[in-house]
């Protein structure tokens, strides 16, 4: 297994290379440049040209690519044009809110989705199952910003229970920190729970039709034992795949929800950086997201083996 993991990690290098170069070229091919954004709409052409030169943006593209790549090989993603700090530090700082939001949203989603998905499978075709399917459909269909705005209208504006938007760092206290993340986490969890619950229900239904479940029931095992000991574990593998994808998705920045709730996370960073054409940051974030996806997928593959002893690498 260690060899398998090492092999997968070694395969990271070509993935990051391709992603990095493609991102760099695509970014520089789209029009727009940071100088005119910094200087504002009233700047003259001469001012823009001057700042472009100061920032080194007037050099030929291949030269910029080589210079950038050389730095990346040394582990240096360069400095942000706007934030005036190293890109690695910018990503690290924005990772805090994103990681917190991801953890809270995923925890909420799992807490709701797994038990309800398994129960719906067990009570297939019941009223509960039908209601459950409707909610799941709503969860995956309603855009998270809409859920977010409605949560703000109810819990922040009407009930005044939680802040409207903004992020409080955990250093100011765990309570205010969680309060600043709760509404966005619910907005995200609603969608994620829909995806996970559907998968949990479907795979449980499939497992419940297997011979070994009939055997378990036949030897007199109680329904609770059948569900938790025999069905649940075997139904987990497809669910873990979905959870893995959703985790990678959230960790690479919940762009819309972070924007609505003004959370300074990775998603917000990338949106802001795109509108400012802050090339080093966008390139850095793209590499980071590629890394997250590869690592999360590896983790999911390793988890398969832990859940199902028949799987060996």
């Amino acid at each position: 297994m260690a060899r398998y993991a090492a092999g997968r990690l070694a395969a990271l290098a070509p993935v990051l290379l391709v992603v990095g170069v493609t991102a760099f070229l695509l970014l520089h091919l789209i029009p727009g440049d940071p100088a005119s954004v910094i200087l504002g709409p009233d700047a003259s052409a001469g001012q823009v040209a001057l700042l472009r030169h100061t920032l080194g943006l007037d050099r030929p593209l291949p030269v910029q690519l080589v210079l950038w790549f050389e730095r990346v090989l040394h582990g240096d993603l360069g400095d942000s044009i706007f934030l005036r700090e190293p890109v690695t530090r910018a990503i690290w700082q924005h990772l805090g809110p994103t990681a917190g939001l991801t953890a809270l949203a995923e925890a909420l989603a799992l807490a709701v989705a797994i038990p309800s998905g398994v129960l719906a499978a067990w009570k297939q075709h019941s009223r509960f199952d039908q209601g459950f399917m409707l909610l799941v459909l709503l969860g995956v269909s309603i855009p998270s910003f809409w859920t977010g705005l409605n949560l703000i209208a109810v819990f922040a504006v009407a009930l005044r229970l939680l802040p409207v938007a903004g992020y409080v760092s955990p250093s100011h206290g765990v309570g205010p920190w969680a309060a600043s993340l709760l509404l966005p986490a619910i907005a995200l969890a609603f969608t994620q729970a829909g995806l996970i619950a559907r998968m949990a229900r479907d795979s449980t239904i499939e497992v419940l039709g297997e011979d070994y479940i009939r055997t378990a029931r036949g030897k007199g095992a109680g329904e609770a034992a059948v569900l938790t000991r025999h069905a649940f574990r075997n139904a987990l593998i497809p669910t873990v795949t979905v959870v893995g994808t959703s985790l990678a998705n959230l960790l690479s920045g919940a762009v819309v929800v972070e924007t609505v709730f003004v959370l300074p996370g990775v998603g917000n960073l990338v949106v802001q950086s795109i509108s400012r054409r802050d090339y080093p940051v966008i390139e850095g974030v793209v590499l980071f997201v590629a890394l997250v996806y590869v690592l999360v997928n590896l983790l999911v593959d390793l988890l398969y083996a832990a859940i199902d002893p028949r799987i060996r690498y």
Binding site: P31, G40, V48, A107, L108, V164, V262, S275
Partner: protein, 528 residues
């Protein structure tokens, strides 16, 4: 694993919801009258955009200015009537030939790092401004030298008469703010990262995407005059001003409704009725805000011919364009002025016989006269500003109606900014113009700004303007009429209309606030 995750997280979250609800209820309940100024507290401001830099010499952006003018000050600045008055300058004298300006600096002014402000700092700052800002470059063309007489006196020698000197030194667009000499030199042509000024608030920190925090300057030495605007008496009542970039206008409104923010910038017009109905909120219509226009490419393509620019102007019906762009009528105004009616010293209605006179026959005749034969014209707009793309949706059919063949191109704002610098890529782009304070500062009168306007008539008029002393109001009025007439004859830009900004503040919390073209928080206090 699932159970282990669920319990502690939920319990904690519920506990914090309960705890927080108490805090929020308590906050909402406390709101004393607020007629007497109170020191202390924090002003929370929800802004619509994060600035690219806070160096006010470097950027023309509004997002930069409204934070930066709490930190930085210039020698001269605008008063509440948009006229220039001294700020860091004590007084100034002009020699009889009009070529030598002697500026006395106010004594006892200190920078935020404790260093006293001297003539050396002023000279270094002005020289940097002269290189960085377009207004500065224009001004320095007339300046022979800036020299120090003593620590408290600076002399500016001109090579030719240039009456707008003092006005330009007080222009808030890319302001000639004074910073310590070593800071100005270290920053050079790059946006400064050391933000050290003389203003009533000190820059404390900036967490990108999260907040910009300013703290009261305890050593601030205020003027005593009641001039308003950006000069005169300034008292920093609040301990801190926190600016939060909140992209979504609905969230900005929600935040000011709950009191999380004391003031929210740039709300959409559709919330006006809701705000008016809420006794805790005040809607502030900013009338000196912006005017929208269609900029023609005068260096390349069909619009090098002034007749076709006039044709486009006659094809347009400003009322329809403004209604589509902005919406309810109380948020816009049809006015021919290059300046706003509130700018009493500069405003004129010259050109009123051309502006807002849609005449399709005349437009078609001009097209024919100019020999236009259906060349495609590219009209660039952006969806990043709703009004902008909405204007294009009406403008395009209006142009087509008189015979123009139009290619409507909608881009994101940075792309538009970049494309408009290339002469062969476009014919018209839509943009908004924030207030200027002098005709020499009107951005599209500059030959290098996208659109590349060159005009002998205008150059002569601007030159004359430069030679006319500020004190000669009658001569200035006459010249202003001429300049605006030229603007309507040559149509470098087709003016569409003035539109108003909408800010909303929480009346329970924010007191002493007065409307101006951008938000200011000195002489303002909070009660939370």
């Amino acid at each position: 694993m699932v159970a282990a995750l669920r319990c502690p997280t939920l319990t904690r979250a519920l506990a914090c919801v309960a705890g927080l609800s108490l805090i929020w209820t308590a906050w909402g309940a406390a709101a004393p009258g607020g007629s007497e100024p109170v020191r202390g507290g924090v002003i929370h401001v929800a802004t619509n955009a994060e600035p690219g830099t806070l160096d006010w010499q470097s950027s023309t952006a509004t997002a930069t200015r409204l934070v930066a003018w709490h930190v930085f000050e210039s020698l001269f600045a605008l008063d509440r009537n948009y006229e220039v008055r001294p700020l860091l300058a004590q007084s100034y004298a002009v020699s009889a030939d009009g070529l030598r300006y002697t500026i006395r600096l106010r004594a006892g002014i200190k920078f935020h790092n404790g260093q006293p402000m001297t003539a050396d700092d002023v000279i270094a700052s002005l020289e940097r401004w002269g290189k960085l800002s377009s207004g500065g470059q224009e001004t320095f063309k007339a300046i022979k030298q800036v020299k120090k007489i003593d620590d408290g006196t600076v002399e500016i020698d001109l090579s030719r008469l240039f009456a707008p000197l003092i006005t330009n030194l007080g222009d808030p667009k890319q302001a000639a703010v004074i910073m310590p000499k070593n800071v100005a030199e270290r920053a050079g042509l790059k946006p400064a990262t050391e933000l050290i000024g003389t203003g009533p608030y000190i820059f404390k920190h900036w967490t990108p995407g999260q907040e910009i925090v300013l703290a009261r300057n305890p050593a601030y030495v205020s003027r005593n005059e009641d001039w308003g605007g950006i000069t005169g008496r300034k008292v920093a009542y609040a301990d801190e001003i926190d600016f939060f970039p909140v992209t979504d206008p609905q969230v900005r409104l929600a935040g000011v409704t709950t009191g999380q923010y004391d003031l929210a910038l740039e709300l959409t017009q559709d919330v006006y009725a809701k705000v008016k109905a809420d006794p805790h909120l005040t809607a502030d219509l900013v009338r000196v805000f912006s005017w929208t226009g269609a900029v023609f490419n005068k260096a390349h393509g069909v619009f090098t011919d002034a007749r076709l620019r006039q044709a486009a102007l006659y094809a347009m019906k400003p009322a329809d364009l403004m209604a589509a762009a902005i919406g309810p009528k109380q948020f816009w105004q049809l006015d021919p002025g290059l300046f706003f009616p509130e700018q009493k010293g500069l405003y004129t209605a010259a050109g009123a016989e051309t502006y807002n006179h849609q005449n399709l026959d005349k437009a078609r005749a001009l097209l024919k006269e100019a020999g236009y034969h259906g060349q495609r014209i590219a009209v660039m707009s952006t969806k990043d500003y709703t009004w902008n793309a909405n204007t294009a949706q009406v403008l395009v059919p209006e142009l087509q109606a008189v015979g123009f063949s139009v290619d409507s191109q909608v881009y994101d704002w940075p792309t538009l900014l970049s494309r408009r610098t290339k002469q062969d890529l476009w014919d018209i782009f839509l943009t908004g113009f924030s207030p200027s304070i002098d005709p020499t500062g009107v951005i599209f009168f500059g030959g290098t700004w996208p659109g590349w306007y060159k005009s002998d008539a205008l150059d002569r008029e601007l030159e004359k303007w430069g030679e006319t002393p500020v004190s000669d109001a009658a001569a200035r009025k006459k010249l202003m009429d001429q300049i605006q007439t030229t603007f309507y004859q040559e149509v470098p830009v087709a003016k569409i209309g003035n539109y108003f900004g909408l800010e909303v503040y929480n009346t329970d919390h924010l007191h002493g606030y007065t409307s101006y073209f951008d938000v200011r928080f000195w002489n303002v206090w909070v009660t939370h």
